[in-house]
Symmetry: C2
Subunit: 620 residues, 2 copies
C-alpha cells in the first residue's frame, strides 16, 4: 500500500457504490452539520442585534425564534415533497431549471455555489475564532489554523462518504447529546422554579433598555436569525448518497435534522428569557458567547461545561463539511448540462466528484487567505444565497405539480406555494436588511457567474456542433502522408527519425536548413550513410532538400517550406517528424536548444488541419 493510498484511501471500484451509501444515522454528520451548527450562531447573531434594547430585548427573542421555526417547518414540508418528486436528487438547480427554465436554474446554481463556499469559509473561521478567543496565544496563527482545518476536512472528505461519517460521528452526536441535555435540564429547572430559575453561575448583568424597539430592528433581528436556516437544502440535493429506499432514508434524515434544529432554537430562546441571558459585545473584553452563558447558567462550570463547549467548537468548524458533501454534487449537476467544465462530472478514485472538491477548497482557501482567516464580514452575504435557492426551488415545485397534475396536486401546490411565498418574503427582508452590509457583492457576483456559465455552455455547444458526425467513415484517399524530416548532422537521432519516417510512408523528404555549417558535408554524409545502403537494398532514397538561410534563422525557412509543400500536395497529409531530446534531469533542459518544441508550436499555431507533427523521442 503506497503512502498516497494510505492518506486518501485505496481506489473504489464503480461496483462498490452500494457499499458507500448511507442511512439516516450517518446522514446527519454528512449533510446536517451546517444546519445544526446554526444553533450556535443563529440565536447569537439575533441577540447581538438586540443588545441595545437591554433586558427588554431578551423578551423579543422568543417570538422571533418561533417565527424562524415556523418558516423552518414550511421549508421542511416543501423539501419533503421535493425529495418525493426527484428521487435522484432535487437540488434547487435541478428543480428550478427543469420547471422555471435554464436562467432560473443558473440563478439558483450561482446563489448556491456562493453560499457553499461562504459556508465553508465562515464555518471554519468561526470555529477557529472561538478557539482563539479561548486561547488568545493562538491569535497570530489564525490563518494557519483555518488552512489546517481546511486541509484536514479535505483529506477526510477525499476518502469518501463512509470514512467522513466515521470521522465526524462522535463530535456530531456529542454536540447533539450535550446540547439536548442542557436544554432539558434547563427547562426542567425553569418549570420547577415557576419560570424564574436561579442560574448556577450568573450570566453578566443585563442593563435596562437604552433605546426603543423599532420594526426595522426586529426585521434585522429576524434576518440575522435566518442564517440558522442555511444548509436545509443539503439533503434533498444528496438523495443519491442514501442506501435504498433512498427517498425514505433521505426524508428521515431531513426530519431528524429539522426536529433537532427546531428544538435547539426553541430551547435556546426560551432558556435565554428564563435565565435573562443577553448577548455581550464581541468587541469588549468581557465577551462571552450566548451558549457559553447558557451552559454555565444551567450546568455550572464543571467538566460537562467544557465537553459541551468543545463539541460546539468542533461542530462549528465541521459545519463546512456540508459544503464538501453538496458543492461537488451541485457542480456535477450543472456540468451535466454543459454549463461548467466537464471535469466536474468525473468520479475520482473514491467515487466522489473530486474536481468539485478541488474547486470548493480552492475558493475557500482564497477567501480565508484574503480575509486572513477572519470572515466576520462575509456573514451578511450568507443567507441570501440560501433563500434565493429556497424560493426558486419552491416556485419550481409549484410548476412541477401543476404540470404533473393528478391526485393531490392542489394540496401539494399549496404546500410548495406557501414555502415559496414565505422564503421569498424572507429573501426580501434579508436583502433589504443586509444590502448595505455587503449583500450587494452577491448581487454583482451572481450575474457574473451566470454569464460565465452561459459562455461555457456556448463553447461546449460549438464544439459539439464542430465534431458531431452522422455518417460513416470516409474510406477514400488513404494514401500515406508526405513525411518531412528536418535533418542536421548524421547521428543516431537522425537515423532513428529517418527510419521511422520510412516506416510510415514511401514519400519522405529530409530537409536541411543551411545556416552556418557547410552543406557539402551534409550532402557527403547523406550519400555515404543513407543513399548508398538504401540503393544497395533496392529501396527508394528519400529526397534531401537544402533550405538556404542567409540570416541564420532555422525555424522560419522550415515552416515556410512545409506550408509551401502542403499547398502543392492537396491530396496528401503532411507529417513533420521532429526528433526531440528528452533529458534525464530538468536542469539539463537549458543545455539543449528547444527548437523542436518551438517548431511544433509554430506549426500548431498555423492551425492547419492537414499538417501533423510527430515527435520522435530520444532518451538520453
Amino acid at each position: 500500500m503506497s503512502f498516497f493510498d494510505l492518506v486518501v484511501g485505496k481506489p473504489l471500484a464503480t461496483s462498490e457504490e452500494r457499499a458507500e451509501q448511507i442511512g439516516p444515522i450517518a446522514g446527519i454528520p454528512v449533510f446536517g452539520l451546517d444546519a445544526l451548527s446554526s444553533a450556535a450562531y443563529g440565536p447569537e447573531a439575533a441577540l447581538t442585534l438586540l443588545i441595545p434594547l437591554g433586558l427588554a430585548g431578551i423578551a423579543h427573542i422568543v417570538p422571533i425564534s418561533f417565527a424562524i421555526i415556523l418558516l423552518l417547518a414550511i421549508v421542511y414540508f416543501s423539501y419533503c415533497q421535493t425529495i418525493d418528486a426527484y428521487p435522484h436528487g432535487g437540488g434547487s438547480y435541478t428543480v428550478a431549471s427543469e420547471n422555471l427554465g435554464e436562467k432560473a436554474g443558473l440563478l439558483a446554481a450561482s446563489a448556491l455555489m456562493i453560499d457553499y463556499v461562504l459556508n465553508a469559509a465562515v464555518g471554519i473561521s468561526a470555529g477557529v475564532g472561538s478557539l482563539v478567543s479561548a486561547f488568545p496565544r493562538l491569535l497570530p496563527h489564525t490563518l494557519a489554523l483555518c488552512l489546517g482545518i481546511l486541509l484536514i476536512l479535505t483529506l477526510i472528505n477525499m476518502r469518501g462518504i463512509k470514512d467522513t461519517v466515521t470521522a465526524f460521528l462522535v463530535p456530531t452526536y456529542l454536540f447533539i447529546g450535550t446540547l439536548l441535555f442542557v436544554i432539558i435540564v434547563g427547562a426542567f429547572r425553569a418549570v420547577a422554579a415557576g419560570g424564574h430559575p436561579v442560574p448556577l453561575i450568573a450570566p453578566p448583568h443585563v442593563p435596562a433598555s437604552i433605546s426603543l424597539v423599532t420594526l426595522w430592528l426586529l426585521l434585522k433581528v429576524f434576518a440575522s436569525g435566518c442564517t440558522a436556516m442555511t444548509g436545509v437544502e443539503a439533503v434533498s440535493n444528496g438523495v443519491n448518497a442514501f442506501r435504498p429506499p433512498a427517498q425514505k432514508n433521505a426524508k428521515r434524515t431531513l426530519t431528524i435534522i429539522i426536529v433537532l434544529l427546531m428544538t435547539f432554537l426553541a430551547g435556546i430562546a426560551l432558556l435565554c428569557r428564563a435565565y435573562s441571558i443577553a448577548a455581550t459585545d464581541p468587541n469588549s473584553p468581557g465577551y462571552q458567547s450566548v451558549l457559553s452563558q447558557l451552559v454555565s447558567s444551567v450546568m455550572g462550570r464543571g467538566w460537562f461545561y467544557y465537553v459541551t463547549i468543545a463539541s460546539i467548537l468542533a461542530v462549528l468548524a465541521l459545519s463546512a463539511n456540508t459544503s464538501y458533501a453538496d458543492f461537488p454534487r451541485l457542480t456535477r449537476a450543472v456540468a451535466l448540462r454543459n454549463y461548467l467544465p466537464h471535469v466536474f462530472n468525473i468520479r475520482g478514485r473514491r467515487l466522489l466528484y473530486s474536481y468539485g472538491i478541488y474547486a470548493l477548497v480552492g475558493f475557500t482557501a482564497f477567501l480565508l487567505i484574503i480575509f486572513g482567516g477572519v470572515t466576520d464580514r462575509l456573514i451578511p452575504l450568507f443567507a441570501i444565497g440560501a433563500f434565493l435557492a429556497f424560493t426558486l426551488s419552491q416556485a419550481g415545485m409549484v410548476m412541477h405539480w401543476k404540470r404533473q397534475g393528478g391526485k393531490g396536486t392542489r394540496h401539494r401546490m399549496i404546500i410548495n406555494g406557501i414555502g415559496a411565498t414565505a422564503t421569498g418574503i424572507t429573501l426580501l427582508v434579508v436583502l433589504v436588511a443586509k444590502f448595505t452590509q455587503g449583500a450587494w457583492i452577491t448581487a454583482i457576483i451572481v450575474p457574473g457567474l451566470m454569464i460565465t456559465m452561459s459562455a461555457v455552455k456556448r463553447h461546449y455547444d460549438g464544439v459539439a456542433r464542430d465534431v458531431v458526425i452522422d455518417r460513416p467513415m470516409r474510406v477514400d484517399n488513404l494514401n500515406g502522408p508526405l513525411v518531412i524530416v528536418p535533418m542536421d548532422r548524421w547521428t543516431r537521432i537522425s537515423e532513428k527519425g529517418l527510419r521511422f519516417a520510412m516506416k510510415l510512408s514511401d514519400q519522405v523528404q529530409a530537409v536541411h536548413v543551411d545556416a552556418e555549417e557547410g552543406w557539402e558535408e551534409i550532402e557527403h554524409n547523406w550519400q555515404r550513410n543513407v543513399a548508398a545502403p538504401l540503393n544497395q537494398a533496392g529501396r527508394q532514397v528519400p529526397a534531401l532538400i537544402f533550405l538556404n538561410s542567409p540570416y541564420r534563422f532555422v525555424l522560419m525557412p522550415l515552416v515556410e517550406y512545409i506550408e509551401k509543400v502542403e499547398k502543392e500536395q492537396p491530396d496528401r497529409q503532411i507529417a513533420v517528424l521532429i526528433p526531440e531530446l528528452i533529458v534525464k534531469h530538468w536542469w539539463q533542459t537549458p543545455l539543449h536548444n528547444q527548437r523542436s518544441q518551438l517548431l511544433k508550436l509554430l506549426l500548431l499555431m498555423r492551425g492547419n488541419q492537414r499538417i501533423i507533427v510527430i515527435n520522435i523521442p530520444w532518451y538520453l
Copy 2:
C-alpha cells in the same frame, strides 16, 4: 519595417559580416570604455584611502600611480604578444586552456565572467551615483535609472557593433578630449608657476596629517588603484571584431587605449600633487570628486567644467559597454568547448552572440536589483577577476612560446614572464588587501562556476557518446509500425485519427477504455461507421479493443496495454495516435480534459525508445 526591426535593427545576413567589422577609431568606444573610465575612479579610490594622511598623503599618490603605470606597460607589451599569437582572439580563457590545461582555462573564464558582470553593474551604478549626487531629487529613482541605462545599453548593443559605435563615439571622444585638454592646460600652468600654480577655484582645504603612513596602507592604496587596470584584456579577446589586418588594428586600438590611460593616470596624479587636491569623504556633505576638484582648479566653473563633468558621467555609465562587447565572446569561446550551453554559440539576427548578452543583462539586472542600484560594496570584488585572468593569460603565453620555439622565443618568454610575475604579485596584494572586504565571495563563486561548467561538459560529452554513429543507416526491418488509436465516441475527431492511422500503417488497433459508459454503443457505432464501409471498400478493418476499468481510470489501463503490446511485438515500433483539441483562447483550456497531454507525458516518462506518440491536432 516592423516595430521590432526598428528597435533592434533588421537582420544581418552572414555575408554582411565584413561590413560589421571596425577599425581602431571605432574600437575605442567598443572595447576601451572600461579601461578609460578607470581614470575617473582609480585615482579617486586610491586617494580616498589616503585621506587620513592629509597633505602628506597627496605626495604618495605620484609614486603609486607610476607603479600602476609601469604595471600597465608590462601588461600592454604582454597582450600585444598575445594578439600576435592568437589572430582569432586570445582571451585569457583561450590562452590559459590551450597552454595550461582546461582547469586553468575554466579558472580564468570564471574569474572573467564574474568580472564582466561586476563591471557592468558597477559602471552603471557609478554613473547613476554621480548623477544622483548632482541632482539629489533623483535619489528615490536610483534603481529605476540603473535599469533604464541597462535597457538602453542593451537595445543599442543588440543592434550590433556598428550601431554601438555610432551611439557612443561622441561621448567617448568628448571625454578623452576634455580630460586631455584639462591635463595639458593644468600641466602648462604648473610648469609656468614653477610647480606651485594658483587654482582658479581653490579645492577644499586639506588638513595636516592625522596618522602615519604604513606599508600596509600603501599596499591597500596600490590595490585600490589597480581597479584602473580592468578592461585591458578586452581588445585581445575581440580581435575578430576588427577589419583586416585584424591583428594590426587590434594592436593599434590597444596602444591608443593604454597610452591614453597612462596619460590620464600620470596627469591626474601630478596635478593633484601640484594643486594639493585630496579626496573628500564621500559620506560627508561637502563631498566633491577628485576630478571635479581638478577640473575646477584648472579651468574654473564655466561651461567647460560642466561639459567635462557630463562627459565623465556618461563614460562611467557607458563603461559597462566593454562587458557587452566581451562577455558574449567569452561565453561563446567557453561554449565552443562544451563547457557552457550551446545557445551561447548561436549568432543572433545582428551577428552577435545574443544569448551571451541576455545572460550578461540578466545577471547585471539581478545584481542591481538586490543591491538597489548601489553597488559600492561590489567594488572590492572587482579587480581580482581581472588580475587572476591577467596572470593565467601571461603564464599561458610563456608556455605558448616555449612550446613553439624558434627565433625570438627567449625574448618573448621574458616579456610574458615579467607580465605574469608582476600581475601575479599584484593579484596577491589585491587579494590580501581586499579579502575581508568581500574578495572571499569571489573565492566561493569561482569554484562553484568551475564545477557547474565541468558538469555541463560532462553532460554534452555523454550526449555526444550516445548519439555518435560511425556506420551507414540500417535498412532492415522497415515494416510499418503498429498504430494504436485511443477511441472514445464516434466524432469527426475520431474519424480524423483513425483515417490518419490507416494512412500510416496497415496494422491499426482502436482501443476503448470502458470506464462508465456502455461498451455496447461503442461496438455498435464501430460496426456501422467503421467496419461496414471498410469491408465494402475491401479494406482491412482495424481491431477494436475494449479495456475494462473498474476504478474508472482512463490512462493507466491504456498505458499498461500499450506496454504489453510493445513487449509482444519486438520487431515493430508502436505509434500511439492521440487526438488533441486545440482551443482558440487560453481560457477554454480548463473546459477540456487534458488527458491527451497527460497520456503523452506518461508514455514519455516510461522512456521506451520504441513507443512514439503522435498528436493529431483538432482545431476548434
